[in-house]
Symmetry: C2
Subunit: 265 residues, 2 copies
């Protein structure tokens, strides 16, 4: 099972939109996929129509009440299951502060019962707190959704530092496998400047032993497309809402590229 | 002094861009203005060119080291001063957890020394933690920057709940004075649907005693304009970077509208 966290503490870059639609695209081509909503905003759960007040077990129960991840799965489509978030997840970080294994709760409860899936994707909140650390502790890959804007670039240093810290102290397997440009607009000069800056940075760290030394910039860009912002209001993935739009095409091509990536483990 | 927090736990809606450019517009028309960067991502400080490793006092020192707000001000333009954030702010929430006055540290240290300013604007992080609570405890107004997207709307309920809780338990003066549409695109159908939904909601709560019962949707919309995303890379406000673009015009009009608002206190 490939485990991937979609992480960027910069807000609004496209973490949730990517986790939902890449997940749906992978399931559509036959991959059994789990999506975990790790954000107290519960955007992913809402996007896929999971009413948080009707679910029996949520990610909060997995982290704080010893429920195995396998027991908190809700099927939302063929080969696609979600571990939903509920608003009480906001309290999990404070509740876990004094637990001995506070960073590795998710890893532990994922391993508690066997899971027969091909992909496990995690939608992280826009922060560097314990929820994000739990996700980074559990996965082997991080994909960074990035908007080609300068403020998004400014936060990269802390994002990379966090991955380094987790790899050193908590999860030696952790790798940043890719950077994905979201809400991509090819025309603005800013786009070219930011993508160039990112490529230059990655090329300069090729022979370092950092978690990003083998990271690539994915060739697929997710173009800005209003249908991607409309789909959540219908509780559908882009494939069910507007299968012929550019957003659906981009996420389909992304799924192909992600499946073909060579992961160094 | 009018005190306004720009708050929305949804990421990437335009909190930082609005705090910086509204602040610059108010200063340009003669209002002495303070901007506080309350986000560990330090985007506002970076946007205005404040190198976080060169500042003597930051908002972290105000919250955790008893430095008065008046002693952490850095002038960045005529009549415009910033209280910068540094990365150690990320640790403030855990450090404050056991302090008796943990929610009202900012209010206390703002009152510690007199401030002769017309406006104090706070850029909040995309979360509902202690940093945001401190901001809500200190201000009398909240303006909610909102993108006319569905996921942004979904989070409104929790945002309003948080303001209610703070008003009931910590700051009886707190009012949501306005909602500001950012990254506004008039063409998509989604825009009309979301703005209608927000107007309907506000109209239905007019005679309730909630913090939003007198809130208005500002007539000014901040249109999507790539120059607003370019300006941070030059460490300039939109007025210094591209004074003739639509973004500069929108923030200028916004400043006029904000100055003319009737605030019920
Ligand atoms: N390619 C795109 N084109 C147009 N709109 C998009 C695109 N991707 C995402 N959006 C919209 O932009 C907003 C931000 O995206 P999203 O919520 O997925 O980001 P996020 O990184 O998960 O945000 P947060 O930091 O709050 O968790 C949402 O309203 C979403 O519908
Ligand atoms: N009106 C606009 N037109 C185009 N781009 C914009 C506009 N407003 C903001 N942006 C860009 O969109 C991104 C998100 O805006 P900003 O960082 O101000 O949001 P935020 O709410 O402060 O985000 P966070 O939740 O991470 O603090 C930034 O890259 C910014 O440059
Ligand atoms: Mg999200
Ligand atoms: Mg911000």
């Amino acid at each position: 099972m490939r485990t991937i966290a979609f992480f960027n503490q910069k807000g609004g870059v496209g973490k949730t939109t990517t986790t939902v639609n890449l997940g749906a695209a992978l399931a559509a081509v036959g991959k059994k996929t789990i999506l975990i909503d790790m954000d107290p905003q519960t955007n992913l759960s809402f996007h896929l129509g999971l009413e948080t007040d009707k679910v029996k077990h949520s990610i909060y129960d997995v982290l704080c009440q010893d429920v195995a991840l396998a027991d908190a799965l809700y099927p939302v489509a063929d080969r696609l299951s979600v571990v939903p978030a509920t608003p009480d997840l906001a309290g999990a970080e404070v509740e876990l502060v004094n637990a001995a294994d506070r960073e590795s709760r998710l890893r532990k409860m994922t391993a508690a019962k066997p899971l027969e899936y091909d992909f496990l994707l995690i939608d992280c909140p826009p922060s560097l707190g314990l929820l994000t650390i739990n996700a980074l502790c559990m996965v082997t890959e991080v994909i960074i959704p990035l908007q080609a804007h300068f403020l998004a670039l400014q936060g990269m240093a802390r994002l990379l530092e966090t991955c380094s810290m987790v790899r050193e102290r908590l999860n030696p397997e952790l790798l940043i496998s890719a950077i994905l440009f979201c809400q991509y607009e090819s025309a603005p000069r800013l786009t070219g400047e930011v993508t160039e800056e990112v490529e230059k940075f990655l090329n300069s760290s090729r022979d370092s032993n950092q978690p990003w030394s083998t990271a690539v910039v994915l060739e697929t860009h997710i173009r800005r497309n209003i249908k991607l912002a409309e789909a959540p209001s219908f509780n559908k993935s882009i494939f069910d809402y507007a299968p012929n739009c550019a957003g659906a095409a981009d996420y389909q091509v992304l799924a192909e590229e992600v499946m073909q990536m060579k992961i160094p483990h």
